[in-house]
Symmetry: C2
Subunit: 240 residues, 2 copies
């Protein structure tokens, strides 16, 4: 019988290397192989044992990214040779993480899959600026969306989110900022507070606030790009 | 001049004592006072130094809970005497955590406030069952809501959530399960998968799945109560 490794999907958190869980550190220490990508802070690799294989599977400057298919294939190949394969993903693996494709690939060859949740940037990055997802008397819910779907479109559900009183948190939305702001102004006051945090939790973080009416101009002045978290809602005014 | 301590709002995670961050552990180790409540796993108190004050501020069997006002007052009193006061909260302090009231009380007497995000039960508890918040091709967003607002009502925005394709995650919603299921069946197919996880991430966890049509009956059979996480959406079918 062939060896069949275990695939560990592990959340690396939003960037600050202290915002990873004890369980994630333990799993990294026991890993034979660690596959990580661009949103993972490389400082976390200090937890990996000396003789483990460390494999970068993200984008490199001026080079193409590993395709999802290539990553899936690597998981399967490592799974044939090693016991503990860690797929270390920025934030939480189950929040816009394409984890299902990796799970399916691993399962297809009989690998077990284990999950270690991470601190999601969607919540933690605003929180570190004092912006809560919910606050009693202001909002009872929050809605987290990607700004760009697989087909490159704005998500169909965004008008429903705009109509609600939910705090709306959008990842990877800065390129659609103009469209998003105009959509929300159809349903919410144009002075609704908005925040954008780029490279949240890291020393190079950029944080701007404004309103639906002026956030686009402010984002241009601050030269905001991805990875960034966009927060729309009255809770933004609570930030420090 | 009087001493003025720092208030640290620290996320304790969903229950499993390994699902706390390195930063939270470091802050607990340095704390002079740790105030914690019912949703915090007491195993986490092992990180607190020997001579620190440990204060329980949650409900006890057969006794009234500390009121929010009493907790705020304690923060202020400890802040006058000690340097580092930790408010350890289940999950993430900024997800339905009433953190703003504690922040306001601390600030009113000149205390600084610091935030250490935690793993939110809303995301991690489903994730540990293999249920992702989002999955490419199924849903681009997720909506997290409380099931019971401050006024005891169902949140106003729930019909908008029901109309969307978002994964809907409801905390503290089991007592409203019948109303919630009927509302969602107005907009989604009655065989839409639903999961409920009580005491998620802990050995005493109870996990049930069903559909909008039959989840209420199944919850009664399993005698489900709070704290529980309710997940509605096609992603539930991905669970393991």
């Amino acid at each position: 019988m062939n060896k069949v490794g275990v695939l560990w999907l592990v959340g690396a958190g939003p960037g600050d290397p202290e915002l990873i869980t004890l369980k994630a550190v333990r799993v990294l220490q026991q890993a034979d192989v660690v596959m990580y990508d661009a949103l993972v802070n490389e400082a976390l690799l200090q937890h990996v044992k000396q003789d483990a294989i460390i494999q970068y599977v993200g984008k490199r400057l001026g080079q193409h990214s590993h395709t999802q298919e290539a990553i899936n294939q690597l998981i399967v190949e490592y799974g044939r040779k090693y016991s503990a394969i860690v797929r270390l993903k920025g934030g939480d693996p189950f929040v816009f993480g394409r984890a299902q494709e990796e799970i399916a690939a691993a399962r297809a060859v009989g690998m077990q899959v284990q999950m270690v949740p991470g601190i999601s940037s969607a919540l933690a990055v605003p929180a570190l600026q004092g912006i809560p997802a919910t606050s009693r008397g202001i909002t009872d819910s929050f809605w987290v969306s990607t700004g760009t779907t697989a087909s490159g479109q704005l998500p169909d559900d965004l008008p429903l989110a705009a109509q609600s009183r939910a705090t709306v948190i959008i990842l990877m939305g800065t390129q659609q900022l103009s469209v998003i702001a105009r959509l929300f102004m159809q349903y919410r006051k144009s002075n609704t507070p908005v925040a954008i945090i780029q490279n949240g939790s890291l020393p190079k973080q950029v944080f701007i606030t404004g309103t639906l009416a002026d956030i686009e101009e402010k984002a241009i002045v601050a030269a905001i790009g991805n990875p960034a978290v966009l927060v729309i809602g009255e809770v933004v005014a609570l930030g420090w």
